[in-house]
Amino acid sequence: MNKNLLNFFGGGVILKTFVYPKESYMEPINLTEKTDWRFIDQVKKESGQDPALCYQCGNCTAGCPYTKYFDFPVSQVMRLLQAGQKETILNSRSIWLCATCEACTTRCPCEIDIAHIMDVLRIIARRENYVAEKDVKTFYDAFLASMKHHGRVFEVGILMGYNLKSGHLLADADLGPKILGKGKIHFLPTRIKGRDKVLEIFRKSQKKRKNSV
């Protein structure tokens, strides 16, 4: 936990490569230099939410099922955002471990759609190649890949894709026997006729992203 405090204060000078800065010192953040105003505006714009509305009551952190696994609890992500600490945020695992369960959004007394902000941070991180949680991203990619090819997702495919990419070759292998023979697993994906159209969506939005960046 004071790892997080350390993080917050040291955040300003932490480099891209870092994951959790156990060894980082309580460097003062030079707010004049290290406040990334453009980042704040970017998040504001993409999320339509105003971080300034947050008065740090901590309700989001209190209710978040994932706080335990986060390197920064949600309320501190919001605080880091207010302080314009781009590097620290995009390097944090929290933004990848958020499951968008919407507890924070539902309970925020300031009516901030926090889950949506986390979403946006995740998107920015992906766009700018910050990935503090490779496995999560790899899984998402496997999911999307399957969707891209078949138009629908093909669970076995996802699992295999994930295991190969992530290197956890046997992840959830133990579950195999449990479902085998229950008529749940198709070894061939259902492919829809319109999968070219789904593919189009992938292509177009990719193109758009390229142009916009």
């Binding site: 936990m1 004071n2 997080n4 405090l5 917050f8 008065y55 740090q56 009551c57 901590g58 309700n59 989001c60 952190t61 209190a62 209710g63 978040c64 706080t67 335990k68 920064f72 609890p73 309320s75 501190q76 507890a103 309970r107 925020c108 007394p109 300031c110 009516e111």
Partner: protein, 653 residues
């Protein structure tokens, strides 16, 4: 006609974003304007002197001051021109600060706007006629609405000042919220011990006429002469006979009535006296729960009443009182737990509100001061206090701070330790707000001497686990989640306006803000006045307030009343409707529309029926003027000509 225009710099407030010199320049060009100048602070003494001298020197007969809002200084400057020998209505104010220099960013546009605003005022002032106030006698009795600490203070101060006071209290006893409290912060004084004497004074003061268990039905009239209709609700007990012996309560078989005084901590009897020190100490029947009313048979209390005071046939009764001024001290309400679903929304008996805990702590409360938790009457060892339960929460429409929760939580934490030495209190807070005298020291004491653990963070959920309640919160200073397995949870529920605040405001013709709290006439300088002359505010009906603040306001409101009653007559505002009997065709439209019934028929010598305005009753809204088909009835100072002059000043270019 010689109009003089005085343009105020107001330091930089105006001159900063308006080119005042240019404005003066333009003003001099306006038809009818004989003189125009700028001045640093027009409202200052030299500023007003300047105006007076210029009026004489330049032989001005009309004056326009372009400065702040007329709501600030119109009165000031009217006095000034009057001192210089002009009628006070030969004056107009152009608001070039609040409506111009403070809200526009472009200096050129502001300057032009200021010029036009002045042009408008000039055209108006040229149309103005001299008006002269009439004098009328005032009724030196005062109505106080609400018998809480603020209302009682106001009533006592007025009565001691020699005024007859009519005190109307909704519930069956005076005392209000303060009577429910156990102790008071930061002195830990026994609340009822310091309030009791005041309550007794109220009941014994020969100049105070108390209507308990009564509500305001209707208010008519104006400052100096109000007619009030008061509904004395049926108590089904003849209070002239009732001795408050309590025999009826003993015997009442209906044991599940809701206890309003104890906020439902424990059930009450259908016939009840709210608390031992109640004033008046008289019994009241709650017809919702009384078997006589539900089932039509019972009559136990009647059987056992030694003085035969019970009267099931009793009906509400309307009494009328005439007064000259009104002090509103109708107090506050609290949100229900069902507004807080994440805290159980009232489903869990061991999650209670601060005021309920106050009753549990109180020796005269349902547990006679022994702290027990409602579910199983066990003595709680771990108590969690949650501040801002609903306050500062836009998502449920309560964006404001409830003002005194931080302090009473600290007090309750201290008292808990006193009652149960081996208990541990935890306080979840977002900010500790303790700005009063000795307040912050008090919250420190709760932590330093009484070991209350303060946790900076909000609670997100409360749920049962076995006999305990799990409180899931955050410690934002540690940046972690925290969980406490508590025996009892006290929520500092948000303070709101009373649920009938709006209807009362409408009867009083005073305004309320979006939260239902009454609006004072100036937030800094007229805190107890309202925009309706003769109506004053005291206590939490104006916004969440603690005891000292409420008491001060009670006294302040009383002082205001005493000062207007120090004269025997008041000047009526001459800005009222007048009928031009030559033009009036007697169509009676105005009589129908006047909200105050201020217009009556009048027969002229030639037999024609025309409208006639009762000067003292007319409030000057001007609805009649815009209703009259032939422009016969005109609101003085806002006549069709005057308003059209303004319209034309803007539009005919």
């Amino acid at each position: 006609m010689r109009v003089g225009v005085f343009i105020c710099h107001c330091g930089n407030n105006i001159a900063g974003t308006v080119d005042v010199a240019k404005v003066a320049e333009a003003a001099r060009m306006m038809p009818g304007v004989a003189f125009a100048t700028t001045y640093m602070y027009t409202c200052s003494e030299p500023g007003q002197e300047e105006i007076k001298e210029t009026i004489k020197r330049e032989k001005l007969d009309r004056v326009v001051v372009a400065a702040c809002s007329p709501r600030m200084h119109e009165v000031t400057f009217r006095r000034t021109v009057e001192k210089a020998g002009l009628n006070r209505y030969f004056f107009e104010m152009a608001n070039i600060r609040e409506h111009c220099s403070w809200v526009g960013e472009d200096k050129a546009l502001n300057t032009n706007k200021a010029i036009e605003t002045i042009k408008l005022a000039v055209e108006k002032v040229k149309q103005n006629k001299p008006l002269f106030p009439a004098k009328f006698k005032i009724n030196k009795r005062v109505l106080v609405i609400g018998g809480g600490v603020a209302g009682m203070q106001a009533a006592l101060d007025c009565a001691d000042g020699g005024l007859d006071v009519v005190l109307v209290e909704k519930s069956s006893s005076v005392g209000g919220m303060m009577a429910r409290l156990d102790k008071t912060f930061p002195t830990v004084d026994c609340s009822i011990c310091i309030l009791g004497p005041k309550m007794v004074d109220v009941s014994q003061h020969e100049k105070i006429n108390l209507h308990a268990y009564s509500e305001i039905e209707e208010i008519k009239g104006y400052v100096g002469n109000y007619q009030i209709k008061i509904r004395k609700k049926a108590t089904y007990v003849d209070w002239s006979k009732c001795t408050g012996c309590g025999a009826c309560i003993e015997k009442c078989p209906s044991r599940n009535a809701y206890d309003y005084f104890n906020f439902g901590v424990a059930p009450a009897r259908a016939i009840n006296i709210p608390f031992p020190q109640a004033i008046p100490k008289k019994a009241t029947i709650d017809a919702q729960f009384c078997r006589q009313f539900i089932k039509g048979k019972c009559g136990v209390c009647a059987k056992f009443c030694p003085v035969g005071a019970i009267n099931y046939e009793m009906k509400d009764e309307i009494v009328t009182e005439d007064v000259g001024a009104i002090i509103v001290a109708s107090g506050y309400g609290l949100i229900d737990l069902d507004k807080l679903p994440e805290y159980g929304g009232g489903r869990y008996p061991d999650v209670i509100s601060g005021i309920q805990y106050e009753r549990i702590l109180n020796a005269s409360g349902p547990t006679s001061g022994h702290i027990e938790r409602p579910s199983d009457h066990a003595e709680p060892k771990t108590i969690v206090f949650v501040s801002c339960a609903g306050s500062r929460d836009k998502s449920i429409g309560i964006p404001y701070c409830s003002n005194f929760c931080c302090m009473y939580i600290a007090k309750q934490a201290i008292l808990t330790k006193d009652h149960i030495p081996d208990s541990q209190s935890y306080v979840f807070y977002i900010d500790i707000r303790s700005p009063g005298k000795g307040y912050d020291e008090f919250t420190r004491r709760a932590q330093e001497e009484y070991g209350a653990k303060y946790i900076r963070g909000r609670v997100s959920r409360i749920y049962p686990k076995g006999k305990k309640m799990v409180v899931k919160g955050a410690d934002t200073l540690l940046g972690t989640q925290v969980e406490i397995e508590a025996d009892l949870i006290v929520l500092a529920t948000a303070v709101t306006a009373t649920n009938d605040a709006r209807t009362l405001a409408e009867k009083l013709h005073i305004s309320y803000d979006q939260n239902g709290f009454y609006v004072e006439s100036h937030p800094k300088l007229r805190p107890v006045e309202t925009n309706t002359s003769g109506v004053f505010l005291a206590g939490a009906c104006q916004g969440p307030k603690d005891i000292p603040a409420s008491v001060s306001q009670g006294s302040a409101a009383a002082a205001k009343v005493l000062s207007i009653f120090s004269k025997d007559t008041l000047e009526s505002d001459p800005q009222i409707a007048r009928v031009n009997t030559n033009v009036c065709v007697g169509c009676r439209k105005c009589i129908g529309t006047c909200p105050f019934g201020a217009i009556e028929e009048q027969q002229l010598r030639d037999g024609r029926i025309v409208a006639n305005v009762i000067e003292t009753v007319c409030a000057g809204c001007g609805i009649c003027s815009s209703t009259c088909p032939c422009g016969a009835i005109q609101l003085q100072h806002f006549t069709d000509n005057q308003l059209l002059a303004e319209v034309n000043a803007l539009c005919l270019t």
